[in-house]
Assembly symmetry: C2
């Protein structure tokens, strides 16, 4: 029996969905489902293409009660910039959870991933950052630096933003862009320690393999979201910082142990072997505590989950209303 | 930078590619690459959707020297027939092995999988069946029963075909269809033992969990290809048959141990623990022996490999020449 598949391009998706309160709620609901144990999420399929300096990951998750589920294909080919192409690309397939029929193919080139990743940052800030954030800081100057700060600003409307990056030109450009987008005072800084000292909310968005934040920089009333590490070997925050913080929260405990900040903390022996950390979904549904006082130091570790992909893909399928090219197959 | 993605429907794919000698060579080249160790093939991503009586598998493989690689999504939703829908559906994504950019989405509803599976049967028959096959038999009456016999007939042009199925109506229809397609004498039979006794080449194409072929039915000069088992617990051939055969060949040794006929043989203790079987690719490139004499009893176990998907997807991408809908993204 023939059925229609909607093919939706990145441009069409950009017209349909952007970072706002509604999307943050959608992603929050994905974390809530994860916590309620209503998510089936198999391990990531990952393949390396050594000769091409490339890799491809496939993630999926089924959330009970959702009409459909996403299968996300994320290639990363790191010589692409030499060819004038983005390193990260990919698509999402949205399938019926009742029949397995393909409903839509989102040719998003990673746009939906960017959004759901930033929205998870907002969920973390909403539940873990101090109520009052006057100054925020971002480490990194790429797409996620911009999106994370837009997302965080929706839940903690800070007045001032500091941007640190190894490349001063890029940091200045990122600060200028965010100043325009958020309509607030944004400055670049060459001093990451000072950025942390001045901020109540810091987001790290780098592919670092050596910590960019030192444990001694942590101060009362600070929340850090580390979203850069998503693979074994990546590490943005000094292992000792996890011990020093009052509360460490993972998006997914077992993933963070192998590919998040928790990996380095376990290796350094500052996190007890076998101890499962609090998960963000548990905080969202009130099963676990979030921030206990304004003075707490909190860290949230985001590695990215298939549940977020299924949540955003389902949302897009609900609102797309005829957008895209219908192909009968 | 925008790039074009070709969306190709099942109908368009049926116009482009069918079962023929060229396609068999394409799939044979995939097995050859597997044997030469030039394939990266991560474990299958598999997710069960219990409530919907469904499952979805994702396979991929990179073959060195190939321009692209396939990611195949295969959903199986076994209550679909009640809704008038096929149980098996899905699609293949074809990506550049140099940049990771999506080149094409084949909305094939499983058609390319059907073809590459049948073509693997032909590769097995080519290298393992007796040179002279007068009578062939097929156990099972579905799509693969038909395609396997068409494929086998291309490499062993038998004169007569027997069809066995639990449902006599379906067996009769399958025999009638194949008689028309192949232009030879095809009959249904209600006696599987007699089918095996008369045949020099037998293909089993069932989802059986109890053997449909008994060890005592094996006779000199017989080749069996078992392509039905592709999951733990499935089993078409009596475990003792593997011990009785002169030569047992797997499409992929480690896959067959967990999801092919080898699984039951290992469990029954008739296959030595830890002994890696001969693989079809090794036979294709002459690294391992195939059939040694016309009197040999041979068995080939096909569970399906991502290399076959990449081989057929690459072939389709080469010949598609403007077919499909181009979407700029």
């Amino acid at each position: 029996m023939a059925h229609d598949v909607s093919i939706v391009t990145e441009a069409e998706l950009r017209g349909l969905v952007s970072l706002n309160g509604e999307l943050i709620e959608v992603i929050e609901s994905g974390f809530a489902a994860l916590a309620k144990g209503k998510v089936t999420m198999p391990p990531i399929l990952s393949m390396e293409l050594e000769k091409a300096n490339g890799e491809v990951d496939v993630k999926t998750a089924y959330i009970e009660g959702f009409d459909g589920f996403a299968i996300k294909v994320s290639p990363g080919f790191f010589d692409n910039p030499k060819l004038g192409l983005a390193s990260l690309n990919g698509l999402m397939i949205f399938m019926s959870a009742k029949t397995g029929l393909v409903q839509a193919v989102f040719l998003d080139n990673g746009y939906l991933t960017d959004l759901r990743t930033a929205a998870a940052g907002a969920v973390a800030a909403k539940h873990l950052a101090p109520k009052e954030v006057r100054v925020a800081g971002v480490i990194g100057t790429g797409v996620q630096a911009r999106l994370q700060m837009q997302a965080a600003h929706l839940v903690r409307p800070f007045e001032r933003l500091l941007v640190f990056g190894r490349d001063m030109q890029k940091a200045a450009r990122c600060a200028a862009d965010l100043s325009e987008t958020l309509g607030i005072d944004c400055e670049m800084t060459t001093d990451a320690a000072d950025l942390v000292a001045q901020s109540q909310l810091v987001v790290t968005t780098t592919p670092a393999r050596e910590p960019v934040i030192k444990a001694e920089w942590l101060h009362k009333g600070l929340h850090i979201t580390a979203m850069g590490a998503d693979q074994a070997g990546k590490n943005e925050i000094d292992a000792n910082a996890l011990a020093k913080a009052d509360h460490y929260v993972a998006d997914n405990g077992s993933q963070c142990m192998v590919s998040g900040e928790l990996e380095a903390a376990l290796a350094a022996g500052v996190w007890p072997e076998g101890k499962m950390p609090t998960e963000l979904g548990d905080v969202v549904i009130g099963k676990a505590e979030g921030r206990r006082s304004e003075a707490d130091i909190t860290i949230c570790d985001l590695t990215g989950t298939g549940a977020q992909d299924t949540a955003i893909a389902t949302y897009v399928a609900q609102i797309m209303d005829g957008v895209g090219t219908k192909i009968s197959t």
